[in-house]
């Protein structure tokens, strides 16, 4: 609490975040291009600034100065407000994201719930962008993004809730306050007890960020960038910023909830000097995983993606919550939790494997209209 005036304090902390976001976006953009370049056996940006460090800055300047065109037949206000509806929720979600015990803007008792609830709003922005730009590919992309984000929001939330249920807190179990969740992971991070929830959370996070292998809304080869087709300049830059902010948000959240945040190996009393690098390291681990997935995985098809969410991730999430419920009711030790969750993870891996190996169902059904002009084969 800087000064006794809560408004000043809140304003200052928000200022820190407001500065941190563009810097984080630029750094992540540069790192992503370097990492993917290295995976593809090439150097990545080297031209602007030493080792290409200023490349992302140059891109940002270019995007800001480039004219952002609006198609003539676009639905004016939907088109122009869409980027804000996408960016604002992900920035607002950063408010209650703690980096260390007291390094946050405002820590809410319902921190986890607040973050997940707010970040679902960006779906509306994507659909607005798709509809507003009056372009066939954009509409297709918007419909796909709506379908995908909604169907992967549920497993994401349930995985987080599963962990929140069994979180150890001074007064009993179960809390939505992120700081308490992290405090509870002093000796053992929740990834050990809740590996199935961790698996579901990571896969659903990938889908939330529409990154490979779930990047169907913005598939270049099919819908040419989906809802962002008609955007350019500043507005497109906002969409990209939203994507990177979401990336940071979900990586930090995952490291807080599953890897023990600033607490796990070093304990609580070490002080921010060591805790902040620890949380940054864990987040970097997640971000590296997301970058790597983008470089080496192709894209699923829309029906496979939906089937995977509804037929595999959701049942497993229910199983996880029921298992947690049982453990809480009968007060079994945590080890049982870990075993049940481990069994769930193995089942998940097998289910994914079997589902992916099954050949795509043959749709020889040729609709009547096409049959009429069918050339005799």
């Amino acid at each position: 609490m800087i000064g006794d005036n809560p408004w000043l304090d809140g304003l200052l902390r928000l200022l820190v975040i407001a500065v941190a976001i563009p810097v984080a976006v630029i750094v992540l953009n540069y790192l992503e291009r370097k990492v993917i370049g290295r995976v593809q056996n090439r150097l990545g940006p080297m031209r602007v600034g030493p080792y290409g460090t200023l490349q992302a800055v140059a891109d940002t300047i270019k995007l800001l100065t480039k004219e952002d065109v609006r198609p003539h037949s676009a639905d004016r206000w939907t088109f122009e407000l869409a980027p804000y509806v996408v960016v604002v929720p992900s920035v607002v979600a950063l408010v209650t994201l703690p980096l260390t015990e007291d390094l946050f803007v405002r820590n809410l008792a319902l921190g986890l719930f607040f973050i997940l609830a707010v970040s679902t709003l960006s779906i509306v922005g994507l659909v607005m962008a798709g509809w507003g730009s009056d372009n066939k590919y954009a509409i297709l992309g918007a419909m796909r993004s709506a379908a995908q984000l909604i169907s992967y929001e549920i497993p994401l939330v349930m995985a987080a809730v599963a962990v929140a249920m069994v979180a150890h807190t001074p007064d009993g179990r179960g809390t939505l306050d992120l700081v308490q969740i992290v405090d509870g992971q002093g000796r053992v991070p929740y990834i050990v007890w809740q590996s199935l929830a961790f698996f579901i959370f990571t896969v659903a996070a990938l889908a939330e960020l529409y990154r490979q292998p779930f990047d169907i809304p913005v598939a270049e080869s099919e819908v040419v960038g989906g809802p962002f087709v008609e955007y350019s300049g500043m507005r497109w830059a906002m969409f990209m910023m939203a994507e990177y902010v979401n990336l940071v948000l979900l990586s930090v959240l995952a490291s807080l909830v599953f890897l023990g945040g600033w607490n796990w190996p070093l304990g609580n009393q070490v002080g921010p000097a060591l805790q902040v690098p620890l949380i940054v390291l864990k987040t970097a681990l997640f971000i590296l995983f997301f970058f790597w997935a983008r470089a080496i995985l192709p894209r699923l098809r829309i029906d496979q993606l939906m089937a995977y969410s509804w037929q595999v991730l959701l049942p497993l999430a229910f199983y996880q919550i029921i298992a947690n419920g049982l453990v809480l009711v009968y007060d079994w030790p945590d080890v049982v939790l870990g075993l049940l969750s481990g069994a769930g993870t193995v089942a998940a891996a097998y289910l994914t494997y079997r589902m992916v190996r099954r050949p795509a169902p043959l749709r020889a059904r040729v609709p009547a209209a096409a049959a009429a002009r069918e050339v005799s084969v």
């Binding site: 090439r42 080869s221 995985l297 192709p298 009547a368 096409a370 049959a371």
Partner: protein
């Protein structure tokens, strides 16, 4: 022809959404347009529109003499120039009854097979981007293509439009260090193929997208006139280098990879295996090649005048059977010069393959045909 059903039998009268895939589209490998009639994500009808790249490649050579026409063949199939030049030279040699010396034949086989590997590399890269990889197979494939193109530049001087084969042999001899440069290329490319194999072949998501997509039965394939990897993926063991051996292909032993279901994944497997077989052929050719000797048929005039007659020469280009039908009436210019592009025939059944699948699959099926638009439109 069944009587057409007068009206759409849909419950809800929805107008069909026409999506123009192309001519400017990242997945159409050039200037090609598919008008898809889409019901949601399902493709109901597909009308391929070609002709954007039509430059009259069959009319122009009627005004050039036989050496100038070689440039046109480089530009019909710009990924396998050695194969196309070879077909044209074969046609003229058959017309004039020329005897191509040994060393020239071996040079042609080595460069032709390496060109096949370079062309398949281009396909794997482009197909990877279609399926959704973020450019990784593209970079691996192009790293190998650069190596092969450096070899071609050392031999002919050009990276793509070689203009190096002549009716009767090759334009000039190989550089002295060709042998060990070629061995370096083979070893480097073999490692590149293993990289791509590791990246894509067992990748579950890649399998989920490609296995079982638009299977083609052998009878359909033959009736549609498919050739090359498209035909072999359906299980038909037909390769012109083995079925109708031209040049000296009967001296090398190599297998012909064949698929089982004829779907997109089999086409990928056939092309990857073909690359390895081509490298085997190049190694054998390097060993058996005579060190020196003529590389040009003797006694050739500067302007070739084949006797009146006609010939349909064909070779196994990376995309299939590339045929050149030349009618000559004695002059120094061909009277009729028809080019049978392999992609032209492989692309014609696109409508039957695409209808009934999703939009995302239509893009991959188009990518798996490995079309080169200059060969389709000529």
């Amino acid at each position: 022809m069944a009587a057409p059903a007068p009206e759409h039998r849909h419950e809800l009268e929805t107008i069909d959404l026409y999506i123009n895939v192309g001519p400017q589209h990242p997945a159409t490998h050039g200037v090609f347009r598919m008008v898809l009639t889409v019901n949601g994500e399902l493709v109901e009808d597909c009308d391929p529109v070609i002709g954007y790249m039509h430059r009259g490649n069959e009319k122009l050579p009627e005004n050039c003499d036989y050496r100038q026409a070689i440039g046109y063949h480089d530009r019909t199939d710009y990924l396998a120039q050695f194969n196309t030049e070879w077909t044209f030279c074969l046609a003229v040699e058959k017309l004039m009854g020329l005897e191509v010396p040994e060393r020239a034949e071996y040079i042609r086989v080595i460069l032709g097979e390496l060109n096949r590997v370079a062309s398949h590399m281009m396909w794997v890269g482009a197909f990877g981007t279609d399926v959704g990889f973020f450019g990784t197979p593209f970079m691996y494939a192009f790293r190998e293509r650069e190596v092969i193109q450096d070899l071609f530049e050392a031999v002919t001087g050009e990276r793509m439009m070689y203009n190096y084969f002549r009716p009767g042999g090759v334009a000039w001899d190989l550089p002295d260090d060709f042998e060990e440069h070629c061995r370096y290329v083979i070893e480097h490319v073999r490692r590149g193929i293993d990289d791509l194999d590791a990246l894509m072949t067992d990748n579950e998501v890649f399998l989920a997208r490609c296995r079982g997509l638009s299977p083609v039965t052998p009878e359909q394939a033959i009736n549609w006139g498919l050739s090359g990897p498209m035909l072999r993926a359906c299980g038909v063991r037909h390769d012109l280098r083995r079925a109708e051996p031209y040049s000296i292909y009967d001296r090398f032993d190599f297998e012909i990879p064949v698929g089982t279901q004829g779907d997109v994944y089999d086409r990928y497997l056939v092309r990857m295996e073909e690359m390895r077989q081509s490298l085997r052929i190049v190694e054998q050719a390097l060993r058996q090649m005579p060190r020196n000797g003529p590389i040009m048929a003797a006694g050739l005039k500067r302007v070739l005048r084949p006797p009146p007659g006609e010939v349909y020469a064909r070779t196994e280009s990376p995309r299939g059977e590339y045929g050149v039908y030349i009618v000559s009436r004695g002059g120094d210019k061909p009277w009729r010069h028809k080019v049978r592009g392999a992609s032209f025939c492989n692309l014609s059944p696109l409508r039957e393959m695409v209808v009934g699948n999703y939009v995302a699959d239509a893009i991959i099926i188009l990518g798996s045909i490995d079309i080169v638009l200059c060969e389709v439109d000529r």
